[in-house]
């Protein structure tokens, strides 16, 4: 922060005026960021505030808009960075997934980075005894005690995180010795998410050891307590802009939350008009078919759901209600759709669906389909759609049996059913026989939604339903779900970390933190900022 410090030694990494547009959406808008040598800088902000975009600019995944500049130890490095170039200028990244090979030993994971060489060096023999000694020395340097021969997948989560950090720090140290530069920066993206509270401190010890070696650290997290305790300085991003760059000690968590959310509640003036237009258009979209009597509508109750982080979670979803479940990664919200569908077995719990009590622990996908529970999973490429099937085959997957009568498979009926759905859900191009993988993400997602809505679900579970979907299709999806919920009085559970989306589509939002409901927001009180505030505040109190 101080000018004197800047003058004495150039910062290890300095970004100036970084912007990034994704179509109409400006993810970053003139961001400046400076990380000094031996300094720990916290980067905080809401989901979608631009944190990960900024990291991806640094790692060379995203090309920033022209005009942005990057200085490393005072020397300018031309942007955009090529993929892999980051490691050549003294940057190293540890992401939330850690990028460890679970089936390899600690030693193998630790030395993996050194094996990526080409040419004759790729054939030079490995002296495992010497590697073993060296690796032990490396772990000692950071005061991390791990069995080098253990399989990494068997380590506790915190030890995996420490191993990943040690490996990244070691890469940086080797960079410094090799290049003679003094600078290097370790970027930690949400490293504490899956760690129990008592383990976070162990992780910090490693980070402090890394800093003592002379590296700078960029620490990205939602965990404001952690951010305050480990960082020297905090940079707050909001809507792609730096809104604060302050000494970590100067603000308590509540003040940080205010900075993150901003005091000005965003205007929702245009929303009602848009809503009305949408409502007018949606009525015919999912009109009940002739033989398809409107359902009376059933409310859904989840009682005492226990699994992992969830310790006796109970809530209800009214008939025709869209309930949002908000929570930061690791809150347990992201597990709910899969547990309630039986895609993953829960420990126990009861699901009351229209007067029938089902054991959640005993649910299976078959059972759920029979009970007309629908799951739209987040990873549509792997879990949702057969990418190489023709579009119509995906859409009618759940109703095939109804069109097999007397030994005849009425394929024509299915195709025309799919064509109808393609028209209703505005899937472009409207080609029932095209291979699914050839459609855009938004249209695939519409097809996935169509697949489940055709089966007339009583409970619709959505996980990140607009991930990787363009803005237009996103609005369509909101519209389809709203109209389906209203017309068939179906209960909807909408789980996403996009809080703005929840505020826009949901009737009510429950905020989860550490598996517990900590706030319920409705009506006037339901906004993007209110959800973020509740989610961040509660992390603080839970710690």
């Amino acid at each position: 922060m101080s000018v004197g410090e800047q003058a004495s030694a150039p910062p290890a990494v300095e970004l100036r005026n970084i912007s990034k547009d994704f179509g109409s959406n400006q993810a970053l808008d003139g961001v400046d960021l400076r990380i000094g040598q031996g300094e720990v800088v916290g980067l905080v902000g809401q989901n979608g505030s631009g944190k990960s975009t900024l990291v991806k600019v640094l790692s060379g995944v995203h090309d920033p808009e022209p005009g942005g500049r990057l200085f490393v130890s005072g020397e300018e490095v031309p942007l955009p960075l090529a993929p892999g170039q980051a490691s050549e200028i003294g940057l190293s990244f540890v992401y939330q997934n850690l990028a460890l090979a679970g089936g390899l030993t600690v030693l193998e994971n630790l030395t993996l980075g050194q094996r990526i060489t080409g040419g004759a060096r790729a054939w030079s023999p490995i002296n495992w005894l010497r590697e073993h000694k060296r690796a032990a020395a490396v772990l000692d340097r950071y005061d991390v005690r791990l069995d080098l021969d253990q399989h990494t997948g068997q380590l506790a989560p915190v030890d995996q995180a420490r191993l990943a950090i040690v490996r990244a720090a070691e890469d940086l140290r080797r960079y410094r010795t090799r290049s003679g530069h003094k600078h290097s920066v370790l970027v930690l993206d949400e490293p504490t998410v899956f760690l129990p509270e008592e383990d976070v401190e162990h992780l910090f010890d490693v980070i402090r050891a890394v800093v003592a070696e002379g590296a700078g650290v960029l620490f990205i997290s939602h965990d404001l307590v952690a951010v305050r305790s480990i960082t020297d300085r905090v940079v707050v991003l909001r809507d792609g802009r730096v809104v604060a760059d302050v000494a970590a000690g100067g603000y308590d968590e509540a003040a940080l939350v205010d900075l993150i959310v901003g005091t000005s509640a965003r205007s929702a003036a245009s929303a009602p008009a848009e809503e009305a237009r949408a409502a007018a258009k949606l009525a015919p979209v999912i009109s009940p078919g002739p033989g398809d009597a409107p359902l009376g509508g059933e409310s859904v109750a989840i009682e005492q759901l226990v699994d992992g982080r969830l310790t006796g979670l109970s809530f209800e979803i009214g008939a025709g209600e869209i309930l949002g479940m908000a929570g930061l990664i690791g809150s347990g919200a992201e597990d709910l759709p899969y547990l309630l569908f039986g895609a993953r077995q829960a420990d126990r719990g009861t699901l009351r669906l229209g007067g029938k009590a089902l054991s959640i622990g005993g649910l299976s996908p078959q059972r759920s389909v029979r009970e007309r529970i629908a799951l739209v999973p987040a990873d549509r490429h792997v879990l949702g759609l057969g990418e190489q099937l023709e579009l119509w085959e995906n859409i009618v997957m759940l109703v095939e049996d109804e069109h097999y009568r007397g030994g005849v498979f009425h394929r024509g009926e299915l195709v025309s059913l799919a064509r109808e759905a393609i028209a209703r859900f505005e899937i472009r191009p409207p080609q029932a026989h095209a291979v699914t993988a050839t459609f855009s993400g938004g249209n695939q997602q519409k097809a996935l939604l169509a697949k489940w809505l055709i089966a007339r679900p009583r409970l619709l579970l959505l996980h990140e339903p607009t991930q990787g979907v363009d803005v237009g299709a996103r609005k369509d999806i909101y519209r389809f779900v709203k109209s389906a919920a209203a017309l068939s009085q179906m209960a909807v559970l909408w789980v996403t970390t996009d809080f703005g989306e929840l505020a826009e589509v949901c009737d009510r939002v429950i905020v989860l933190s550490e598996g517990r409901p900590v706030a319920t927001l409705t009506g006037e009180g339901l906004s993007d900022d209110a959800i973020t505030t509740a989610a961040l505040r509660q992390i603080r109190e839970a710690r």
Binding site: V369, V382, Y404, A437
Partner: protein, 347 residues
């Protein structure tokens, strides 16, 4: 926006590549002829052989020979088709199941003098046991089918040597041979019609029932099928068991056709059967393992072999013909639509 995990990357790449390909697609593609390449090559081959050696190639005897001699292989192909279509790419043990069925039939019928019908049932039963063992280790324990069936293939081969005492066993009841091989309808041995009947059933189930459609989805993505409520493992289990049963029937046809059963009987048939299945996957419904494509592929390979034989080529040239066809089979879909094969390799 961008999906960071590797799983999403290949389809993304494929999508981006698509438009320029479309812009300059060939006449073959525009007319949709690529899915009939084998049919076209088949026709060209028949014409070429017909012009070159009309008296021998274009004879009823040759037609009868081609259709009849491949019946055992063709039935085995239908067996191979079932697990393969569900993404259990290789059930190597099916050849051994064929051999076990044939040898059980021969031993029970010839050495113990049991009634031929019971002997046939014993043969099919033995094959079904192999299928059940595969189900237990592949589906129940979720092991790689290649590894497990490599093991069961070897074990079953050993069992065949034990029950036969490492001898050829014959001659099985001639009434069986009459009903399978010696009697004919329209000059074609009856076993061709048995194969055709099995084909029709398999084809009907796979193409015209929800079960077949689900099998296809399982083959494309097990997780998608599971989360759509399909009983994935149950259906995979049935595929292994029915596949083994059909291989057992192929074994009976083998015993009836040859009269005597050699211990290594099935092992020479399994690779041509896979060649036919994969070659067939490039036809009719490109990228999809399908029964009709397999039917065409079997008789394409058989006709090519028969033609070469009539031209007087040595039998090892026919092996080259088979190999070339198989390599072409896995390469054609890459040139086509980059479908199933690429997916399986990356998975």
């Amino acid at each position: 926006m961008s999906a960071p995990h590797g799983a999403a990357a290949p389809p993304e790449a494929g999508r981006q590549k698509e438009p320029p390909q479309r812009a300059r697609r060939s006449a073959v593609r525009r007319l949709g002829l690529s899915r009939y390449t084998i049919v076209i090559v088949f026709a060209a081959m028949v014409i070429a052989f017909g012009i070159d050696i009309p008296s021998t190639f274009l004879s009823i005897g040759n037609l009868s020979n081609i259709l009849g001699s491949q019946a055992v292989l063709f039935i085995l192909v239908m067996a191979v088709l079932l697990p393969t279509i569900m993404g259990d790419f290789v059930d190597l043990s099916l050849g051994s199941s064929l051999g076990l069925s044939a040898m059980t039939l021969a031993v029970v019928n010839v050495q113990h003098g049991t009634n031929v019908v019971l002997a046939c049932l014993a043969g099919i039963g033995a094959a079904l046991v192999v299928g059940l063992v595969n189900v237990f280790f592949v589906v129940y324990f979720d092991n790689d089918p290649f590894i497990v069936t490599l093991g069961t293939m070897t074990i079953v081969q050993g069992v065949i040597y034990i029950i036969s005492g490492n001898n050829s066993v014959g001659i099985v009841s001639t009434s069986l041979s009459d009903w399978v091989f010696n009697n004919d309808f329209l000059s074609i041995p009856l076993e061709f019609y048995y194969g055709l009947a099995i084909f029709l059933v398999v084809w009907y189930v796979l193409s015209f029932t929800p079960v077949g459609q689900k099998a296809l989805v399982i083959g494309q993505s097990r997780e998608v099928a599971r989360l759509t409520g399909v009983r994935v493992n149950r259906q995979r289990a049935w595929a292994f068991i029915l596949g083994a049963g059909i291989a057992g029937i192929a074994g009976i046809a083998y015993a009836a056709t040859n009269g005597t059963v050699d211990p290594p009987a099935g092992s020479t048939l399994i690779l041509p059967a896979f060649a036919a299945v994969f070659l067939g996957a490039t036809q009719i419904k490109p990228g999809r393992i399908n029964a009709l494509g397999a039917l065409i592929a079997v008789y394409f390979l058989a006709t090519g072999t028969a033609g070469l034989q009539l031209l007087g080529t040595q039998s090892y040239y026919q092996q080259i013909f088979y190999g070339v066809a198989l390599v072409a089979a896995v390469t054609i879909p890459k040139a086509n639509r980059d479908r199933i094969f690429k997916k399986k390799r990356s998975a």
